[in-house]
């Protein structure tokens, strides 16, 4: 009954002579919150960037929502891009636009909605991520890091995507905002039926939100599955990372 949203097969990534991933496989089901974990420099963010077609991989295969990234035409790629939202680590809001314009941009470009309708959608998204309406006319340089993340999430959600990629969504947030963020993500999933893929280092957030995880270590997936039986796996990273939690 569960369908596959993303499938990565035999992926190999190489920067110069340095191999980042070697025959890496993973499957992400529709509707789940999936975490990519691993030690620094193991290529989590690289894998995420490969999924959203920012980085090219060496060999192997990535399939997203039925599109094969190896042989995707520019029209299909464009279609696919409208079906996902991406949240970058530092937000990556367009610095020449206000928050309102940032969030409205995909709507303005891709739809023929009236300005009034767009305004209403923007107001809703701003509310949804927990920003105040007064902030909407500020420029990204004028707001705090946490607000940037929220605004970037609102922009990622602007087109109501099926798929959401989050790169360290809670890093740089204070603990309260981070927990709010987790709650928001869970709520969005149940409200909108999103499939969420995230890279995270925040243990609390990992335990609170993730359905399944993949641990990348030594160029491969060291573990893929739920968090319940993660401690049965022999891995130095898992031991040190999850070791003390819940004991």
């Amino acid at each position: 009954m569960m369908s596959t949203a993303i499938e990565v097969k035999n992926l190999k990534t190489q920067f110069g002579s340095k191999i980042i991933h070697q025959s890496l496989n993973l499957t992400i089901n529709t509707g789940e919150i999936y975490g990519l974990l691993g030690p620094s420099g193991c290529g989590k963010t690289t894998l995420l960037r490969e999924m959203v077609m920012l980085e090219k991989y060496h060999s192997g295969n990535i399939n997203i929502l039925g599109y094969d990234l190896n042989n995707i035409g520019s029209e299909d790629a464009q279609k696919l891009r409208r079906e996902w939202g991406v949240l970058f680590q530092a937000g990556a809001l367009f610095s020449s636009l206000t928050l309102r314009e940032n969030i409205a941009l995909p709507l303005v470009e891709y739809t023929d909605l009236s300005p009034k309708m767009i305004e209403e959608i923007v107001r809703f998204k701003i509310n949804l991520v927990g920003l105040k309406h007064g902030d909407a006319n500020l420029y990204p340089a004028q707001i705090s890091g946490g607000m940037k993340k929220k605004a970037a999430l609102a922009r990622a959600l602007a087109m109501d995507p099926k798929l959401l990629f989050l790169d360290e969504p809670t890093s740089g947030l204070d603990p309260i905002s981070a927990r709010d963020f987790d709650a928001l993500i869970l709520e969005l999933r149940s409200l909108l039926g999103l499939t969420i893929v995230m890279v995270s280092h925040d243990l609390q957030s990992i335990y609170d939100t993730l359905d399944r995880v993949a641990i990348i270590d030594h160029k491969k997936i060291a573990y893929e599955g739920t968090l319940d039986n993660i401690k049965s796996v022999e891995s130095k990273f898992i031991k040190t990372f999850f070791g003390k939690y819940n004991e």
Partner: protein, 374 residues
Amino acid sequence: MNKTLTLTISQKDGTLCLKFLGEITVYTLSKNQETIDKIDRSKLNRVEIDLSDVTFIDTAAGIFLLGVRKHFEALVSQTQLVCTNDEILRTLALVEKKQEPSKEHKERFAKNIVERFGKFIYKHYVAFLSFISFLGELFSASMRYFRSAKNIRYKEIMFEIYESGIKALGIIALTSFLIGVVVAYQSAYQLKIYGANIFIVDMLGLSILRELAPMMTAIVIAGRSGSAFTAQIGAMKITEELDAMRTMGFDPYMFLVLPRIIALMIAMPILIFVADIAGILGGMLIAHIDLKITVELFLERFSDVIAVKHFYIGVLKGPFFAFLIASIAIYRGLMVKNDTQSIGFNTTKSVVEAIFAVIVCDALFSIAFTNLGI
């Protein structure tokens, strides 16, 4: 900070005793090292490092102490570390566990000239290839861009024309006016000697319309708008804005690159036209003051001897120069790596390369027009 001596040395019967006192921290290490270096090492058979009166060591001191022990272990048969303080022992244990044995790293510094030359050539070859690939991508993007009129982003193009064209009018008019003044002034002196005053019109008309106005405009624009393009796009690359655009399906070539190039290609001929006017005005002024050629006489002579083709040639160079400046500037912007240093580096490169490319292009035009007899 304790400035007093933290190490006393006693030596008897071949036994060396290093007795440390008080706090050993990173501040006292070099003094201790000096003291230890002075020890006569000839008749030793046993070394004792006594830390029993030490109250505190930091990790730097830990590394130092382990180093001292290792040094003497290599020299004598028996070394002993006396210490009862648990904290100090723990610090030492931590240092010992985490200390990375410093390997002899042999870096090859001396490269011979062949290797360096080869690397230099290869680096530039790769850079050249990447510029060609940029041009290819630009071409394929412009094919998609012009496929339907609704792709064209008039708003952005207008904005860029205003930013990099209209706003530059003042500085370009002023520069060109001064160039006109300088050229007229220098040649007026020579022409007066031969009494060929009226030929200043021919000279000014030809040189300004054909060469000087387009060239000055291109140089000012490369410095002013080219550098701005590089810095803008470079900064957007660092903040991942370009990546964000790509994932949202907004091709940066359509949204950022082509509007800028098109805008500059439209603005440049207009700027050259203004530069023509200002340059001729400057020359006219000097001709009037220095050579007593009235404005009427100047203009009459001007319309007699200067064919309109010279004006067209000058203006025609505009879009070519604009394309070179904009594409080099944007290419340099896209080459910015993920650090702020490379913005400065690439901006400098962008201006230098753009001006160089403009001069080369102008030389090619000269050769072409001469051979065509225009």
